[in-house]
Amino acid sequence: MTTTAARATGTAEGFKPWTRPEMAARLAKDIPEGWCVNLGIGIPLLVSNFVKGREVIFHSENGIIGMGGLQKPEELEPWLVNAGKQNVNLVTGASIVHHADSFAMIRGGHLDLCVLGAFEVAANGDFANWTTSLKDGVPAVGGAMDLAVGAKRLWIIMDHTSKDGRPKLLEQCALPLTALKAVGRVYTNLAVIDVGPQGFEVVDMAPGLSMEALQAQTGAKLKRKAP
Protein backbone atom coordinates (compact mmCIF):
# COMPACT_ATOMS: atom_id res chain seq x y z
CA MET A 1 0.00 0.00 0.00
CA THR A 2 1.01 3.59 -0.66
CA THR A 3 2.09 5.93 2.06
CA THR A 4 -0.65 8.37 1.26
CA ALA A 5 -3.37 5.76 1.54
CA ALA A 6 -1.93 4.55 4.80
CA ARG A 7 -1.88 8.07 6.18
CA ALA A 8 -5.36 8.69 4.91
CA THR A 9 -6.78 6.00 7.11
CA GLY A 10 -4.49 6.92 9.91
CA THR A 11 -2.85 3.55 10.23
CA ALA A 12 0.69 4.43 9.16
CA GLU A 13 3.31 3.88 11.75
CA GLY A 14 4.08 7.08 13.65
CA PHE A 15 0.71 8.68 13.06
CA LYS A 16 -2.61 8.34 14.84
CA PRO A 17 -5.54 10.66 14.26
CA TRP A 18 -6.77 12.47 17.31
CA THR A 19 -9.56 10.73 19.18
CA ARG A 20 -12.78 12.57 19.88
CA PRO A 21 -11.80 13.43 23.44
CA GLU A 22 -8.45 14.65 22.09
CA MET A 23 -10.22 16.80 19.50
CA ALA A 24 -12.48 18.23 22.20
CA ALA A 25 -9.50 18.86 24.49
CA ARG A 26 -7.60 20.57 21.67
CA LEU A 27 -10.56 22.88 21.04
CA ALA A 28 -11.08 23.52 24.74
CA LYS A 29 -7.49 24.72 24.99
CA ASP A 30 -8.44 27.66 22.78
CA ILE A 31 -11.34 28.81 24.99
CA PRO A 32 -10.22 31.49 27.43
CA GLU A 33 -11.75 31.96 30.84
CA GLY A 34 -14.91 34.03 30.86
CA TRP A 35 -16.27 33.16 27.45
CA CYS A 36 -19.93 32.29 27.02
CA VAL A 37 -20.09 29.23 24.81
CA ASN A 38 -22.85 27.21 23.17
CA LEU A 39 -21.95 23.61 22.41
CA GLY A 40 -23.95 21.73 19.80
CA ILE A 41 -25.17 18.22 20.27
CA GLY A 42 -22.72 15.33 19.84
CA ILE A 43 -18.94 15.81 19.74
CA PRO A 44 -19.21 19.52 20.64
CA LEU A 45 -20.70 18.62 24.03
CA LEU A 46 -17.49 16.77 24.90
CA VAL A 47 -15.68 20.11 25.00
CA SER A 48 -17.25 20.92 28.37
CA ASN A 49 -15.19 18.11 29.92
CA PHE A 50 -11.94 19.90 29.17
CA VAL A 51 -12.30 23.41 30.59
CA LYS A 52 -11.86 22.49 34.23
CA GLY A 53 -10.11 25.13 36.27
CA ARG A 54 -11.41 27.91 34.05
CA GLU A 55 -14.79 29.60 34.43
CA VAL A 56 -16.47 29.18 31.07
CA ILE A 57 -20.20 29.86 30.90
CA PHE A 58 -22.12 27.34 28.85
CA HIS A 59 -25.29 28.48 27.16
CA SER A 60 -28.06 26.16 26.09
CA GLU A 61 -30.45 27.60 23.51
CA ASN A 62 -33.50 26.48 25.44
CA GLY A 63 -32.76 29.26 27.90
CA ILE A 64 -29.95 28.21 30.23
CA ILE A 65 -26.97 30.46 30.86
CA GLY A 66 -24.59 28.55 33.09
CA MET A 67 -25.22 24.93 32.22
CA GLY A 68 -23.33 22.27 34.13
CA GLY A 69 -22.72 18.63 33.29
CA LEU A 70 -25.17 15.80 32.73
CA GLN A 71 -27.10 14.80 35.83
CA LYS A 72 -26.12 11.72 37.72
CA PRO A 73 -29.00 9.37 38.52
CA GLU A 74 -29.15 10.52 42.13
CA GLU A 75 -29.36 14.19 41.13
CA LEU A 76 -32.44 13.91 38.97
CA GLU A 77 -34.10 17.26 38.34
CA PRO A 78 -36.45 16.50 35.47
CA TRP A 79 -37.20 20.22 34.95
CA LEU A 80 -33.71 20.87 33.63
CA VAL A 81 -32.79 19.80 30.14
CA ASN A 82 -30.21 20.92 27.61
CA ALA A 83 -30.78 21.49 23.90
CA GLY A 84 -30.40 17.76 23.33
CA LYS A 85 -33.10 17.18 25.95
CA GLN A 86 -30.71 15.45 28.31
CA ASN A 87 -31.07 16.20 32.01
CA VAL A 88 -28.33 18.60 33.04
CA ASN A 89 -27.25 20.58 36.09
CA LEU A 90 -26.89 24.28 36.60
CA VAL A 91 -23.68 25.84 37.87
CA THR A 92 -23.63 28.45 40.62
CA GLY A 93 -24.48 31.76 38.99
CA ALA A 94 -26.72 30.25 36.32
CA SER A 95 -29.82 31.98 35.04
CA ILE A 96 -32.87 30.97 33.03
CA VAL A 97 -34.54 32.97 30.27
CA HIS A 98 -37.34 32.25 27.82
CA HIS A 99 -36.79 31.17 24.23
CA ALA A 100 -37.05 34.60 22.63
CA ASP A 101 -34.59 36.05 25.12
CA SER A 102 -32.26 33.09 24.65
CA PHE A 103 -32.17 33.55 20.90
CA ALA A 104 -31.92 37.32 21.30
CA MET A 105 -28.72 36.57 23.18
CA ILE A 106 -27.57 34.31 20.35
CA ARG A 107 -28.60 36.51 17.43
CA GLY A 108 -27.44 39.68 19.15
CA GLY A 109 -23.84 38.51 19.22
CA HIS A 110 -23.58 37.90 22.95
CA LEU A 111 -22.09 34.40 22.74
CA ASP A 112 -18.34 34.41 22.38
CA LEU A 113 -18.35 31.05 20.68
CA CYS A 114 -20.57 28.38 19.24
CA VAL A 115 -19.21 24.91 18.52
CA LEU A 116 -21.13 22.75 16.08
CA GLY A 117 -20.64 19.57 14.12
CA ALA A 118 -20.88 19.63 10.34
CA PHE A 119 -21.24 17.46 7.25
CA GLU A 120 -19.27 19.87 5.08
CA VAL A 121 -17.27 23.07 5.47
CA ALA A 122 -16.27 25.21 2.49
CA ALA A 123 -13.11 27.28 2.09
CA ASN A 124 -15.17 30.48 2.23
CA GLY A 125 -16.73 29.57 5.58
CA ASP A 126 -20.03 28.23 4.26
CA PHE A 127 -21.07 25.07 6.03
CA ALA A 128 -23.75 22.41 6.00
CA ASN A 129 -24.88 20.56 9.10
CA TRP A 130 -28.64 20.40 9.23
CA THR A 131 -29.81 18.02 6.54
CA THR A 132 -28.28 15.72 3.97
CA SER A 133 -31.23 16.08 1.67
CA LEU A 134 -34.22 18.32 1.28
CA LYS A 135 -36.05 15.58 -0.61
CA ASP A 136 -35.75 12.44 1.46
CA GLY A 137 -36.96 12.08 4.98
CA VAL A 138 -38.25 14.77 7.25
CA PRO A 139 -36.02 17.76 7.76
CA ALA A 140 -35.42 19.46 11.10
CA VAL A 141 -33.31 22.49 11.79
CA GLY A 142 -33.51 23.43 15.47
CA GLY A 143 -31.28 26.31 16.49
CA ALA A 144 -28.30 25.62 14.20
CA MET A 145 -28.95 28.44 11.73
CA ASP A 146 -29.46 31.00 14.50
CA LEU A 147 -26.32 29.93 16.33
CA ALA A 148 -24.28 29.95 13.13
CA VAL A 149 -25.08 33.57 12.27
CA GLY A 150 -25.34 34.88 15.81
CA ALA A 151 -22.34 33.81 17.86
CA LYS A 152 -19.20 35.95 17.67
CA ARG A 153 -17.23 32.89 16.53
CA LEU A 154 -18.31 29.62 15.00
CA TRP A 155 -15.95 26.69 15.32
CA ILE A 156 -16.71 23.33 13.76
CA ILE A 157 -15.60 20.05 15.31
CA MET A 158 -15.89 17.00 13.08
CA ASP A 159 -14.03 14.11 11.51
CA HIS A 160 -11.82 15.23 8.68
CA THR A 161 -13.49 12.89 6.23
CA SER A 162 -16.82 11.11 6.00
CA LYS A 163 -17.19 7.49 7.07
CA ASP A 164 -16.53 6.37 3.51
CA GLY A 165 -13.39 8.50 3.31
CA ARG A 166 -14.62 11.51 1.31
CA PRO A 167 -13.32 14.94 2.27
CA LYS A 168 -15.61 17.15 4.35
CA LEU A 169 -13.52 20.28 3.86
CA LEU A 170 -14.35 21.43 0.34
CA GLU A 171 -14.04 24.28 -2.11
CA GLN A 172 -17.80 24.51 -2.07
CA CYS A 173 -20.52 22.73 -0.10
CA ALA A 174 -22.76 20.33 -1.99
CA LEU A 175 -25.31 19.84 0.78
CA PRO A 176 -27.99 22.38 1.83
CA LEU A 177 -26.25 25.20 3.69
CA THR A 178 -26.75 26.09 7.32
CA ALA A 179 -25.14 29.51 6.95
CA LEU A 180 -22.90 31.46 4.59
CA LYS A 181 -19.35 32.52 5.45
CA ALA A 182 -19.88 31.64 9.07
CA VAL A 183 -17.12 29.23 10.07
CA GLY A 184 -13.98 30.64 11.68
CA ARG A 185 -12.12 27.48 12.52
CA VAL A 186 -12.39 23.72 12.09
CA TYR A 187 -11.13 21.10 14.53
CA THR A 188 -10.87 17.64 12.97
CA ASN A 189 -9.30 14.37 13.96
CA LEU A 190 -6.35 15.36 11.73
CA ALA A 191 -5.87 19.09 12.09
CA VAL A 192 -6.91 22.50 13.30
CA ILE A 193 -7.71 24.71 10.32
CA ASP A 194 -8.66 28.37 10.18
CA VAL A 195 -10.96 29.75 7.54
CA GLY A 196 -9.00 32.78 6.38
CA PRO A 197 -9.74 35.38 3.74
CA GLN A 198 -8.00 33.17 1.14
CA GLY A 199 -9.35 29.86 2.36
CA PHE A 200 -8.19 27.10 4.68
CA GLU A 201 -5.08 27.73 6.75
CA VAL A 202 -3.58 24.90 8.77
CA VAL A 203 -2.90 25.91 12.35
CA ASP A 204 -2.03 22.54 13.84
CA MET A 205 -1.85 18.91 12.80
CA ALA A 206 -2.05 15.61 14.59
CA PRO A 207 1.50 14.60 15.52
CA GLY A 208 3.31 12.79 12.72
CA LEU A 209 0.90 13.84 9.98
CA SER A 210 2.39 15.55 6.93
CA MET A 211 0.92 18.48 5.09
CA GLU A 212 0.76 16.34 1.95
CA ALA A 213 -1.20 13.60 3.65
CA LEU A 214 -3.57 16.16 5.11
CA GLN A 215 -4.02 17.79 1.71
CA ALA A 216 -4.81 14.40 0.20
CA GLN A 217 -7.80 14.08 2.50
CA THR A 218 -9.01 17.61 1.98
CA GLY A 219 -11.22 18.82 -0.86
CA ALA A 220 -9.81 22.33 -1.03
CA LYS A 221 -6.40 23.90 -1.15
CA LEU A 222 -4.64 24.09 2.22
CA LYS A 223 -1.90 26.45 3.20
CA ARG A 224 -0.01 26.81 6.40
CA LYS A 225 -1.18 29.57 8.66
CA ALA A 226 1.38 32.34 8.87
CA PRO A 227 2.74 32.25 12.42
Binding site: I41, A100, G150
Partner: protein, 233 residues
Protein backbone atom coordinates in the same frame (compact mmCIF):
# COMPACT_ATOMS: atom_id res chain seq x y z
CA UNK B 1 -63.60 39.55 41.21
CA UNK B 2 -61.29 38.46 38.42
CA UNK B 3 -61.07 34.71 38.42
CA UNK B 4 -59.64 32.99 35.38
CA UNK B 5 -59.71 29.54 36.90
CA UNK B 6 -61.91 27.01 35.16
CA UNK B 7 -62.97 23.68 36.62
CA UNK B 8 -62.09 21.27 33.87
CA UNK B 9 -60.00 20.88 30.79
CA UNK B 10 -63.17 20.52 28.74
CA UNK B 11 -64.30 23.92 30.00
CA UNK B 12 -60.87 25.33 29.18
CA UNK B 13 -61.29 24.21 25.57
CA UNK B 14 -64.69 25.80 25.03
CA UNK B 15 -65.04 27.79 21.86
CA UNK B 16 -61.96 26.53 20.04
CA UNK B 17 -63.07 26.34 16.43
CA UNK B 18 -62.16 24.26 13.43
CA UNK B 19 -59.40 25.96 11.48
CA UNK B 20 -57.76 27.50 14.53
CA UNK B 21 -54.06 28.15 14.86
CA UNK B 22 -52.94 26.66 18.18
CA UNK B 23 -49.56 27.20 19.82
CA UNK B 24 -48.22 24.85 22.43
CA UNK B 25 -45.31 25.46 24.77
CA UNK B 26 -42.65 23.00 25.80
CA UNK B 27 -39.22 21.92 24.71
CA UNK B 28 -39.57 18.21 24.42
CA UNK B 29 -41.46 17.02 27.51
CA UNK B 30 -40.41 19.86 29.80
CA UNK B 31 -42.99 22.61 29.99
CA UNK B 32 -45.28 20.83 27.59
CA UNK B 33 -48.99 21.38 28.31
CA UNK B 34 -49.76 17.72 27.70
CA UNK B 35 -53.15 17.71 29.38
CA UNK B 36 -54.33 20.67 27.34
CA UNK B 37 -53.12 19.01 24.14
CA UNK B 38 -55.06 15.93 25.14
CA UNK B 39 -58.03 18.20 25.84
CA UNK B 40 -57.74 19.70 22.38
CA UNK B 41 -57.85 16.23 20.88
CA UNK B 42 -60.96 15.37 22.89
CA UNK B 43 -62.52 18.73 22.08
CA UNK B 44 -62.34 17.64 18.47
CA UNK B 45 -61.54 20.86 16.58
CA UNK B 46 -60.33 20.02 13.08
CA UNK B 47 -58.21 21.61 10.35
CA UNK B 48 -55.83 22.92 12.99
CA UNK B 49 -52.52 24.65 12.41
CA UNK B 50 -50.15 23.87 15.27
CA UNK B 51 -47.16 25.97 16.29
CA UNK B 52 -44.50 24.48 18.55
CA UNK B 53 -40.88 23.48 18.74
CA UNK B 54 -41.36 19.74 18.39
CA UNK B 55 -43.78 17.38 16.71
CA UNK B 56 -44.27 14.62 19.22
CA UNK B 57 -42.67 11.36 20.20
CA UNK B 58 -43.98 7.80 20.06
CA UNK B 59 -47.64 6.98 19.58
CA UNK B 60 -49.02 7.43 23.08
CA UNK B 61 -48.29 11.00 24.09
CA UNK B 62 -51.09 13.49 23.38
CA UNK B 63 -49.28 15.46 20.67
CA UNK B 64 -48.56 12.29 18.69
CA UNK B 65 -52.20 11.23 19.08
CA UNK B 66 -53.43 14.66 18.04
CA UNK B 67 -51.34 14.42 14.87
CA UNK B 68 -52.52 10.87 14.26
CA UNK B 69 -56.16 11.94 14.65
CA UNK B 70 -56.03 13.79 11.35
CA UNK B 71 -57.27 16.98 13.04
CA UNK B 72 -54.06 18.83 12.19
CA UNK B 73 -53.59 20.28 8.73
CA UNK B 74 -50.24 21.94 9.25
CA UNK B 75 -47.48 22.30 11.82
CA UNK B 76 -45.07 25.24 12.14
CA UNK B 77 -42.07 23.80 13.89
CA UNK B 78 -38.30 23.97 14.32
CA UNK B 79 -37.47 20.41 15.23
CA UNK B 80 -40.17 17.99 14.08
CA UNK B 81 -37.78 15.10 13.57
CA UNK B 82 -36.45 13.13 16.46
CA UNK B 83 -35.66 9.49 17.01
CA UNK B 84 -39.20 8.98 18.23
CA UNK B 85 -41.26 11.22 15.95
CA UNK B 86 -42.92 8.29 14.22
CA UNK B 87 -46.43 9.71 13.81
CA UNK B 88 -45.18 13.00 12.45
CA UNK B 89 -42.93 11.18 9.99
CA UNK B 90 -45.75 8.97 8.73
CA UNK B 91 -48.28 11.76 8.40
CA UNK B 92 -45.84 14.08 6.68
CA UNK B 93 -44.60 11.46 4.25
CA UNK B 94 -48.17 10.50 3.43
CA UNK B 95 -48.88 14.12 2.54
CA UNK B 96 -51.46 14.43 5.31
CA UNK B 97 -49.57 17.01 7.35
CA UNK B 98 -48.02 20.15 5.97
CA UNK B 99 -44.78 21.34 7.58
CA UNK B 100 -43.45 24.87 7.79
CA UNK B 101 -39.92 24.43 9.05
CA UNK B 102 -38.61 27.50 10.90
CA UNK B 103 -35.24 28.01 12.60
CA UNK B 104 -35.76 27.91 16.34
CA UNK B 105 -34.74 31.49 17.03
CA UNK B 106 -36.81 32.80 14.15
CA UNK B 107 -39.76 30.80 15.45
CA UNK B 108 -39.34 32.30 18.92
CA UNK B 109 -38.96 35.83 17.58
CA UNK B 110 -41.94 35.54 15.23
CA UNK B 111 -44.07 34.48 18.20
CA UNK B 112 -42.69 37.26 20.39
CA UNK B 113 -43.32 39.77 17.57
CA UNK B 114 -46.99 38.76 17.38
CA UNK B 115 -47.41 39.40 21.08
CA UNK B 116 -45.60 42.73 20.81
CA UNK B 117 -47.62 44.17 17.92
CA UNK B 118 -44.67 43.92 15.51
CA UNK B 119 -45.98 42.59 12.18
CA UNK B 120 -42.55 41.82 10.74
CA UNK B 121 -38.84 42.16 11.41
CA UNK B 122 -35.50 41.42 9.75
CA UNK B 123 -33.20 38.62 10.84
CA UNK B 124 -29.88 37.30 9.52
CA UNK B 125 -30.87 33.70 10.29
CA UNK B 126 -31.35 31.43 7.26
CA UNK B 127 -30.18 34.01 4.71
CA UNK B 128 -28.76 32.16 1.73
CA UNK B 129 -30.15 28.78 2.84
CA UNK B 130 -33.02 26.65 1.62
CA UNK B 131 -35.16 27.94 4.50
CA UNK B 132 -34.67 31.48 3.26
CA UNK B 133 -35.80 30.76 -0.28
CA UNK B 134 -38.62 32.96 -1.50
CA UNK B 135 -38.26 35.34 1.44
CA UNK B 136 -37.69 39.02 1.01
CA UNK B 137 -34.04 39.97 1.40
CA UNK B 138 -32.64 43.30 2.50
CA UNK B 139 -29.24 44.70 3.32
CA UNK B 140 -28.53 46.69 6.48
CA UNK B 141 -25.01 47.97 7.14
CA UNK B 142 -23.52 45.61 4.61
CA UNK B 143 -25.11 42.44 5.92
CA UNK B 144 -28.03 40.53 4.41
CA UNK B 145 -31.25 39.84 6.29
CA UNK B 146 -34.58 38.14 5.70
CA UNK B 147 -37.98 39.65 6.38
CA UNK B 148 -39.89 37.44 8.79
CA UNK B 149 -43.54 37.84 9.77
CA UNK B 150 -45.21 37.53 13.16
CA UNK B 151 -47.00 34.27 13.95
CA UNK B 152 -50.22 35.01 15.76
CA UNK B 153 -52.46 32.26 17.11
CA UNK B 154 -56.08 31.85 18.03
CA UNK B 155 -55.15 29.72 21.00
CA UNK B 156 -52.00 29.24 23.08
CA UNK B 157 -51.64 26.20 25.32
CA UNK B 158 -49.22 26.94 28.13
CA UNK B 159 -47.78 24.94 31.00
CA UNK B 160 -46.92 26.86 34.18
CA UNK B 161 -45.58 26.01 37.60
CA UNK B 162 -47.68 28.49 39.60
CA UNK B 163 -50.78 30.45 38.66
CA UNK B 164 -53.09 32.73 40.62
CA UNK B 165 -56.66 33.74 39.89
CA UNK B 166 -55.51 36.70 37.77
CA UNK B 167 -53.48 34.34 35.62
CA UNK B 168 -50.10 35.57 36.85
CA UNK B 169 -47.64 32.77 36.10
CA UNK B 170 -44.25 31.39 36.99
CA UNK B 171 -42.41 28.63 35.19
CA UNK B 172 -40.06 26.07 36.62
CA UNK B 173 -36.48 26.00 35.31
CA UNK B 174 -36.35 24.74 31.70
CA UNK B 175 -40.13 24.60 31.72
CA UNK B 176 -40.08 28.27 30.76
CA UNK B 177 -38.89 27.89 27.13
CA UNK B 178 -41.62 28.93 24.65
CA UNK B 179 -44.40 29.28 27.23
CA UNK B 180 -44.05 32.98 28.15
CA UNK B 181 -43.88 34.21 24.57
CA UNK B 182 -46.74 32.01 23.38
CA UNK B 183 -48.87 33.32 26.25
CA UNK B 184 -48.58 36.78 24.65
CA UNK B 185 -49.30 35.76 21.06
CA UNK B 186 -52.82 34.31 21.09
CA UNK B 187 -56.38 35.54 21.41
CA UNK B 188 -57.12 32.79 23.91
CA UNK B 189 -54.29 31.76 26.21
CA UNK B 190 -55.08 28.68 28.28
CA UNK B 191 -52.82 27.57 31.09
CA UNK B 192 -52.40 24.25 32.83
CA UNK B 193 -50.80 25.02 36.17
CA UNK B 194 -49.12 22.64 38.55
CA UNK B 195 -49.95 24.85 41.52
CA UNK B 196 -52.71 27.36 42.12
CA UNK B 197 -51.50 30.01 44.53
CA UNK B 198 -53.14 32.95 46.28
CA UNK B 199 -53.02 36.32 44.60
CA UNK B 200 -49.89 38.01 45.90
CA UNK B 201 -48.12 34.76 46.78
CA UNK B 202 -45.59 35.45 44.04
CA UNK B 203 -43.82 38.79 44.39
CA UNK B 204 -44.25 41.47 41.70
CA UNK B 205 -40.64 41.09 40.61
CA UNK B 206 -40.85 37.29 40.36
CA UNK B 207 -43.92 36.88 38.14
CA UNK B 208 -42.79 35.66 34.73
CA UNK B 209 -46.05 36.22 32.85
CA UNK B 210 -48.48 38.94 33.96
CA UNK B 211 -52.05 37.67 34.12
CA UNK B 212 -53.14 40.19 31.49
CA UNK B 213 -52.00 37.70 28.86
CA UNK B 214 -53.99 34.80 30.26
CA UNK B 215 -57.67 33.96 29.74
CA UNK B 216 -58.16 30.60 31.44
CA UNK B 217 -56.29 28.61 34.06
CA UNK B 218 -56.88 24.97 34.88
CA UNK B 219 -55.23 23.20 37.78
CA UNK B 220 -53.35 20.08 36.65
CA UNK B 221 -51.00 18.90 39.40
CA UNK B 222 -49.49 16.22 37.21
CA UNK B 223 -46.02 16.21 38.70
CA UNK B 224 -42.68 16.03 36.95
CA UNK B 225 -42.11 15.43 33.27
CA UNK B 226 -40.59 12.07 32.42
CA UNK B 227 -36.82 12.04 32.85
CA UNK B 228 -35.52 13.16 29.50
CA UNK B 229 -34.06 10.76 27.01
CA UNK B 230 -31.25 12.20 24.98
CA UNK B 231 -32.46 12.85 21.47
CA UNK B 232 -31.54 15.98 19.57
CA UNK B 233 -32.47 19.66 19.66
Amino acid sequence: MIDKRVKSIAEAMQGIKDGSTVMFGGFGAVGSPVHLIEGLLEHGAKELTLVGNNAGTGRVEPLARLLASGNVRKIICSFPRSSGSVVFDEMHKAGKLELELVPQGTLAERIRAAGAGIPAFYTPTAYGTALGEGKEVREFNGRMYLLEHAIRADVALVEAWQADRWGNLTYKLSGRNFNPIMATAAELTIVQAQHIVELGAVGPEQIHTPGVYVKRVVHVPYGDPAPALATTA
